[in-house]
Symmetry: C2
Subunit: 356 residues, 2 copies
């Protein structure tokens, strides 16, 4: 059986073995203040640095979830005003969190299935610009150049990229963004329970300045605290040691396969599925503008055939994700992560073609 | 090898099998919005309710860590003033977090190794009284009656009990406390990455009142949000599904063994170790007042013999925990959790007796 839900998704095929080895080697019983843990944490962050080409100007921090980063990023990077691009449930939730934290949270909202193609003027007072690289609910992705352009036209604001359901696919140039975050249960193919938050020195300086001004930036997981522990390859609290260990090994597996191979395979699998949607009599890509079509979460409109197609796929052991929210009855979502092989995508496409 | 460090500690002996079964059954790939996940979450909370005799007036919530509960409890239960009993590194950190959150955080602080035996007058303006049932750094425990007495004399304040390194041992009467929390990597013998926060209706009402007043109580993990998702057996964010699953099964194992048996065995193991410390020529219990001696984290003063004794124990495969902080060179800590068998404690005691 293959799970195409966009997260939690299919486990990457090496994850079980990494967990079993961790249990055998007593990893979960290690003190998070021991040098053994520091080595594990260092291996993971150095692996991520290599895999994603993260420069030394950016620190790699661990949180409980990407949801937590939504909250921590607003607390630590915004005194008064943030600006959000909203085009689906997850970008909307990020915007809501800023509002709940009593910030002036501006949003440019477009309809589901749409992206942001026109240039936008953002007020100088915006301290943080929040972009959801890949809106998991609708399968709309930002072209990276459009994200970089935001910082070029708003050099004083910090630019943060929610890359939850896309990394490691996008080759993000970290020199052109201030912060990026993701969680491990999507494209890294791991059990949920760990968020990864990447921040540059501008972010840290902003958090320190807010703290100095007396703004409440939180406690054990504020940026200065996270960052000072990260320098020692530690975390402020007892973290999800097992997940940090497994992530280090999954990253090593990805490095061995090669990031270029992973990216090429992602593109191949996306291409054959979008092609199948285009030619299928009862299916359509939900996102019409091909420059905005996500490579990692592919959303199909199936209308009244949704249930029938789901059942037919399930008979072959292929489990699509439901459409998000009210689209549950009319759409299907297909995660395209490193855990999903080319052969599985070929089987998916072949099976779709037999359902007419 | 047996790990006596007080957390992360020895895994409970069934944990590996529960994790392996979870992997085989695809638990980490389940959607946290699916009925399968709701059933897992429900099994875990119902099991905890039975094991710890938690009445229906108290909700059981999941966080990333107990450290997170330190922060969330202050955010959600305190508008202006909290009161903390501080007698070691962990109770001190809780107090610091309240200060960092810009509350008037009062503390009664006593020396390490001491507890709170005298009645204390707490100002009526304290909204929350924070008690660390078992100070993991020093091995000092509160007699439960003394905790209950705090609420009797301060009926308007909420009473919260940090039971991180003691539960499931103490038979807490939840009707006499408002909130209790713990993390799973201590006496529940699991990998770290999950906190459990138990709150009654007074706590929820307080958080809602603060929210209504415009106080910032946080976002996805504020009490009203956690509690409304918990009613559906869900969590606001994608949680550590694997840990919630394993906790349900460990609790089932504990129920099968019987909570009374677990408690009796804990007392037996503590008794023989304290007895050994009393008769040993080079060892002493750090906590002198026997009514305050923790049953679950036993701290021994070993002075200049600390290193020698550590090495001698390690030769037998028995790994004591270091003393906390500056006590590293002169103390040893021994966790006494359900994962530590009577036979292992007997071997520990016998081995200590051969080191003179």
């Amino acid at each position: 059986m293959v799970n195409f839900t966009p997260g939690p998704s299919q486990l990457y095929f090496t994850v079980s073995d990494h967990i079993k080895r961790a249990l055998r080697d007593g990893i979960p019983s290690l003190s998070h203040r021991s040098s053994s843990f520091e080595k594990i944490s260092q291996k993971t962050t150095e692996g991520l640095r290599e895999l994603l080409s993260i420069p030394s100007s950016h620190a790699i921090l661990f949180t409980g979830s990407a949801t937590e980063v939504w909250e921590r990023s607003i607390q630590n990077l915004v005194e008064a005003e943030s600006y959000h691009f909203v085009n689906g449930a997850f970008s909307k939730r990020y915007h809501e969190i800023a509002t709940q934290l009593q910030k002036k949270a501006l949003a440019l909202e477009v309809k589901e299935g749409q992206g942001f193609t026109e240039p936008v003027v953002i007020s100088d007072s915006a301290e943080l610009i929040a972009v959801t690289h890949n809106e998991t609910s609708t399968g709309v992705s930002w072209p990276l150049e459009k994200i970089y352009a935001l910082r070029k036209s708003n050099p004083n604001a910090l630019l943060i990229v929610d890359a939850v359901s896309s990394l490691p696919y996008p080759a993000i140039d970290f020199n052109q963004v201030d912060s990026v975050f993701f969680s491990v249960q999507k494209a890294f193919g791991m059990p949920a329970g760990l968020g990864v938050w990447i921040v540059n020195e501008r972010c840290l300086a902003k958090a320190e300045a807010l703290q100095k001004k007396g703004v409440n930036i939180g406690t054990y997981h504020n940026l200065p605290t996270l960052s000072s522990f990260a320098k020692k390859h530690q975390t402020p609290e007892t973290p999800n040691v097992l997940a940090i260990y497994v992530l280090g090994h999954v990253v090593e597996d990805f490095l061995r396969r090669g990031i270029l191979t992973l990216r090429r395979e992602t593109e191949y699998k996306a291409a054959i599925l979008y092609q199948a949607l285009q030619t299928h009599p009862s299916l359509n890509a939900f996102v019409k503008d091909s420059s905005l079509q996500s490579k990692t979460v592919i959303v199909a409109e199936a209308g009244s055939k949704t249930k029938e197609i789901t059942l037919a796929l399930q008979t072959k052991g292929l489990y699509p994700g439901d459409g998000y929210g009210k689209a549950k009855e009319t759409q299907l979502r297909f995660a395209n992560f490193p855990a999903h092989s080319k052969e599985q995508f070929e089987l998916l496409v072949d099976t779709l073609e037999t359902i007419r």
